[in-house]
């Protein structure tokens, strides 16, 4: 079953083309990764997907809904972790979770979520006094607090320490096992390899490959490297010397 369908998505900011032509499908229950260089249009793609930005062209369906038209319904069912987002400086961790859970008809138990993300000791700390990684964990928790059917996570583990990254991976797997479909934007190839069922590789606003991490590695044609890694494979697809997609 397909839960997200994107075809020929286009988005410009003035003269700057951020997304030239992106198409992919995400199936129910999978962890779908999006990788690619800085500025290749990943964040813009997921922002269009979640109705935060209006696409200039192409078609998007999320759970059968059009993000530009059915924003309210979409937002009840999709949890989003933005790459850059903030909360008021003086808001405490528990207050943020309590507040955001009140926005949804059937929220998750925010206390359990707070514990799973290792934030219980910081429950009374205000947002401004959290470390970067703790802010990130809170951001992940807020994306999941509405019990979404789809979670969109943009640079989920950037800024987390190694242990927190692994804990967060485990959390994402558990969320998926509960039946949630996950769309994950990442720059970490180990994360993509271990977590994602399938990966879309984007370059300059276009999808250059969609496959499982293992297939991407197997298909990789990297001159002078006998046993390429996923990173080699992705770099070969997106680097300056890569051939243009056809």
């Amino acid at each position: 079953m397909t839960v997200i369908e994107v075809s020929n998505l286009q988005k410009r900011y003035g003269d700057q083309v951020a997304v030239r032509d992106v198409s992919f499908e995400v199936r129910a229950g999978e962890i779908f990764g999006i990788v690619g260089p800085n500025g290749s249009g990943k964040t813009t793609t997921v922002e269009c997907l979640t109705g935060l930005r209006r696409a200039d062209g192409g078609m998007i369906r999320v759970l059968g809904l059009d993000p530009a038209r059915d924003r309210a319904e979409l937002r009840r069912q999709v949890g989003i972790q933005l790459q850059e987002s903030h909360l008021p400086d003086r808001l405490k961790v528990w207050e943020a979770l309590d507040l955001y859970s009140s926005f949804y008809p059937e929220p998750a138990d925010w206390r359990a979520l707070m514990a799973e993300l290792g934030l219980t000791a910081k429950r009374n700390t205000v947002f401004a006094k959290l470390s970067g990684g703790q802010k990130q964990r809170l951001s992940v928790a807020l994306a999941l607090v509405g019990n979404p059917r789809i979670a969109v996570l943009d640079e989920l583990t950037t800024g987390l320490d190694p242990q927190a990254r692994r804990d967060t991976w485990q959390l994402v797997r558990e969320v998926r096992d509960r039946g949630v479909t996950v769309v994950l934007v990442t720059h970490f190839m180990d994360e993509a390899e271990r977590l994602c069922d399938r990966l879309a590789v984007v370059r300059a606003g276009e999808v250059v490959a969609i496959d499982t991490p293992a297939e991407l590695v197997a298909r990789a044609d990297v001159p002078g490297v006998a046993r390429p890694t996923l990173e080699d494979a992705v770099l070969a697809l997106t680097g300056p010397t890569a051939s243009t997609p056809n």
Partner: protein, 271 residues
Amino acid sequence: MNAATLPETVESGAAGRRRRGRTAGRSTARLVVTEAKLFVRDPLGSFFAVIFPAALLLVLGSAMPGFDEPSADIGGRKPVEFYLPIILAMAIGTVALVSLLNVLAADREKGVLRRLSTTPVSPVRLLVAQLAVNVAALLVGSALALLGGWLVFGIEARPNVPGLLAAFVLGSASMVALALLLAAFTPTSRAAMGIGSLVYYPMLFAAGVWTPGPMMPEAVRRVADFTPLGAASQALQDTWTGDWPQPLHLAVLVGCTALFGALAAKLFRWS
């Protein structure tokens, strides 16, 4: 089955509407409580909105000799009596141009509104919660000033109550509309502070904070009549002594509210 099929958990009909109605009530209540906590935790904001009007009255009263004694210069009235409605006008200006403007600008600068717009809750509801909290602070601040005037200086007033309420409500509406308009084109909270004080101090001047009552030169008054806080202040002063507000002042207040409100609605951006 493909993406065109509606998910089974989309509720329609009465049950879904009821559940959404409950969620809306609960989330609005939580937003108001949260904004109230944030307001109280910002020491500067809560001081200016809640304590400042009463404090100014008391400080002026104890610093200025004869502040609460009848003076022949002003027709045998006590200076404090015509200063009180001016303090109310100042309270309105402070809440709008300091507290409200800052919270609006800071939330947008930090992406708080953007974060909120990923949830089913409309940022309009956050705005409503912030307005509610600031209006409550204004009411408490004004009540404290009135209480201070009454307890400390024994002010006896026979205000025209409906007129006074109309002046207060219209004055607040016009200043809130002005704050929303300023917030619409101040990208950062630093810019909001700057523009806010650029507007705030002339507004206080027009309200007569430095030239109370009959001390305001006639030429200045004629200009001040056409500013929102100046008109509000004049209307408050008129009604405080039992008169009806002048139609000119009411017209200025209604006009400012409509103009600034319409411009703000057109220009306001959530992120």
